[in-house]
Symmetry: D2
Subunit: 337 residues, 4 copies
């Protein structure tokens, strides 16, 4: 299976390469970069020297791609102009941008401030969270790879929501993320000296764009519209998301019972690990695992659901490979263990 990555010089692109070089069925055919075309991939990312040294090409090479699948690692509003052409040429697409995650152009416009230019594909695109939408992903030409926060939060809450154990009103999500989530473009906000030793919230309330995506997937899990409070925080580490979701229970149920529900829900899942103790981002660093746990808060009606992922693993590139595996009918874990 021949693979291309459109926009490989960011963190999700290079992390995809890291997974794909270990993948027994995938062959990296084409890596594009606008700014570094002509340079070797391993000159831009020296850790890959001796592992993969192919030359980066200009994105225009994607116009007649001789590959089976393209991973789109460019920002939102760019993918929607390119993806339709790729699909027409019979190439499958895993889009890591936000362009095909929302169910409707209206919702997309609400959260991204731009009119969608390939609205007709929104219905077709599968939302690439295999633990919830595996069936649709398997038959898809186009998978919208989920955002990092929505992945963590949806996996931490799915067992509770599916069982109808949660009052859909008043869900609070407090998440902590490493800095690679902000991308590879330098800015004062991601300048080493500014970030070092600092902890801060950003885009609190319902102002972060992932809010819409999270509400969409939670609503589908619960079967009715859900509105949440979401506060992400920036933490001075390179990778990792730790999310805590606070919900009001509709039944009196213990931590042990809740853990039992989680164990059952995720029994067959290769990448979700239910922990009796608590998740640590370090335990999922560099992997496609999502570690989840849950606690009933004694003396209250509240439960807290935790998830830890690598924002570049299960939160982006690892999950993208999982989706590719599903789309092509391969073992879901290839390249990911």
């Amino acid at each position: 299976m021949k693979v291309a990555i459109w926009g490989v010089t960011g963190y999700t692109g290079s992390e995809l390469v890291r997974y794909l070089v270990r993948h027994p069925e995938a062959e990296i055919e084409l890596l594009t970069s606008e700014s570094s075309a002509g340079r070797k991939f391993s000159d831009v990312f020296p850790s890959f020297r001796g592992t993969i040294d192919i030359e980066l090409v200009h994105p225009s090479e994607l116009e007649s791609p001789e590959v089976d699948v393209v991973f789109c690692c460019r920002g939102h509003t760019e993918a929607m102009d390119v993806v339709p052409g790729l699909l027409e040429k019979g190439v499958k697409v895993v889009d890591l941008s936000a362009d095909f995650r929302m169910r409707s152009g209206k919702e997309y416009e609400r959260w991204y401030g731009v009119k969608h230019r390939a609205e007709e594909l929104l219905g077709e695109a599968a939302y690439g969270l295999p633990e919830v939408y595996r069936g649709k992903i398997k038959g898809a030409r186009l998978v919208a790879n989920p955002g990092c926060y929505p992945t963590a939060v949806a996996l931490s809450l799915a067992p509770l929501l599916e069982e109808g154990l949660v009052d859909p009103e008043g869900i609070v999500v407090d998440a902590k993320s490493g800095v690679s989530g902000a991308g590879r473009r330098p800015s004062l906000k991601t300048h080493f000296v500014e970030v070092y030793g600092d902890v801060c919230p950003y885009n609190p309330g319902r102002s972060h764009r992932h809010t819409g995506e999270m509400e969409q997937v939670l609503s589908e899990l619960v079967g009715r519209p859900v509105r949440i409070t979401f506060v992400p925080h920036l933490i001075p580490v390179d990778r990792g998301i730790l999310s805590a979701a606070y919900v009001k229970l509709t039944e009196d149920i213990s931590t042990d019972e809740l853990l039992g529900i989680y164990e059952k829900r995720y029994a067959g899942e290769p990448f979700v690990r239910v922990r009796e103790d608590l998740p640590h981002t370090k335990d999922v660093w560099g992997t496609n695992f999502c570690d989840v746990s849950v606690r009933r808060v004694e003396g209250t009606e509240v439960a807290v659901a935790f998830a830890a992922i690598d924002n570049l693993g299960k939160g982006a590139s690892g999950q993208a490979v999982q989706n590719m595996n599903l789309m092509f009918g391969m073992d879901e874990t290839l390249g990911l263990r």
Copy 2:
């Protein structure tokens, strides 16, 4: 004014020294250490060389202290055996342990698992949060210096609670702390390699001991019993607490109005800074400041109140000096600017 510190070789003790050497009215008379008696303070903490080089003495020297005030920097269950004797000798005490923070022996026993051995002082002890209890602190012989988390959370919520704007049910507090809050005793949990790059929750729900203290002060602010959900997280930085408190509003009120209430509430306070943007722990590093902010979450009934403190500053030693200043009728800011 002559000062002693009981148990100076931990982080709160050495940070107290840092504040006191700059204090124009305080003279450090006695620094005790069980393990390092006989060594110079600056041999244990070389950053103080040339600044304060006095010799550490054994705690038994405190039996006939020729000082005006003793700061107790030993753990809980130790202070309650020593503080009564100090007060009898006419020495004032700022206790940085938890021993005199709870209003009743029953509550103390509930959270600390030990019967209180100086229960008669619990009524007398002032809870050392000047922004709320300044009057009582001024006349006190004994001040119970608050825990780091309760300080941050109480200051972030006080304006809302005092104005009756919050439904006391269902308050959720999600806090992030640097590692110095766990003390200076080595353990695998605080081993550099284990902590580095990791983010994790600990003692979630209502299992952290600060929960009781927090509920006590929030209940007093709101005028009726409050039960909260509290989840602290460990963050790989040395110092700093960032707390986010999620509350349900009882009125429809905007972020701007909320910020106005905060500005008014803290107008005269030298150490609370209301930020229109969001607090960063780095901005309060090494200081006695508490930076607070608040946001109404659009489309919901929720407000989020943030606070950032240095857990060794406003969360411990800085606030201890502020309390000492008040107890002795001095300018509250001496040594702290």
Copy 3:
């Protein structure tokens, strides 16, 4: 091939597991731990959950080992009591301790302060630096896996020393190491808050024990006794060694010529990468690579040779697997790419 690890709960042991689970020919049969026997390996190291969950056994199980090779991950002075028995039983051994690295009992005693109790094996043991001693390793029953600093320094200097380009007098080695090199046992020196943000030298001059090992391998490379100055530094990262070796050249030779010599020397080596730019520890993190480079210092007779390794990779467990591969006649790179 069946494998046992003696003392798996330290960092070199768990890193060995990480490499071995990816190794197509190796099967982990036995993991020992004195303190955690009876617990699952993945309970001690939760990142391995779902990957390897076998139970830890007491080291006494090694008395009749049904394995082909044992990796010894216990400290020096322990291995020399156990290794002879293992060899007698026909088991091959890769010893990650220092016990079999020195050529003579006298040298061992000089640097480790203890009389050697299996001196007869010192001549037999192969020093496990494949790029220099590959031949001997291939036939060995016992490989002494090199220390992290000697590995980096020997690989950075070998091309120069072998070509006779260096005055053996006055070699200076300045090295920087992450904290995992100090092991997993908690202490104040490795306490997060103490290490965070700090840079410091330790054991300077010729007082670090790796000095003897380094002088031994450099002497063998140069063909006469070499005495060096060695100053290691502790850097607040988890992993990684960056060494800079300063030597006086015996010929007038340019940086380009030097790089050419390095390229030629390491042309066939799968794990040494010569960089025209400069090595970064991050580029070798989690790998068995050693990145080297060299510079002639303009206007002087000095050259500087750099190396970057992961102290747990090429500096310990990665190299141990490379040695095992060689000892068993397998492809040297198995499990390491």
Copy 4:
């Protein structure tokens, strides 16, 4: 005494403010910023809120400055166009750029690649290392504040060089620096995710511009031209320089004797602390101290001299204040303790 800072929105500028607000004799009159003129200083640096909130003005305001001294915190090649005008107006200047550090225009051009445009001032400018050039600084109108590396290295070697104990050939300096030394302008090299967890050399040999400055001051200390090898390294911490200087001794002298020489040399110096143990950058963080130590390397002719400074303290802004104090005949330690 009225003070202006030209270019206050970098790290040396804001650190100067931190020292000056504590200075009993200095009053901050004017803070300039090209990019942020019109904003409050404390809006750019929120940690200063409530401490100093004055408005930033455009640099053109410096044309008729009503101040006694100007600190120049702009880059090299900029200061030389502005300083002459300031001096003419009777204002004293502490220049933190490199523009007036070299003794001759020729040397300046060699290291900075630009012809000097105020060469006539190079002879007049005092090199602001008080421990070596205190006399000249006291009478100076213009002080060239030293670079961070030269400060550390000169102070670590001065006692040895002044006593004639060092062979001036073959001095090797290996230094490690935190990232704030690279300034506040975002770039990929200082992007958090790139720097985090990485250790690397940069500008090795004699290619770093501080080499020329270092050679100049070492030559003056030793009384004849000195050529050194200098390799700086980037370390993932915000602040701090740790330098190790390797020299060949001309006499057989022990570590204890060397330490005695250091103690004597620095006996009266308020900001140099001789340590029998080894320097740590953390012990000088946020201060104007320089901690030094020295070791004879057993069995060789080599000595190693260490220094630790805060690159923004003794390495820049702290030393600048020390120089100002001397220029105005004040107690050298004002504002710095």
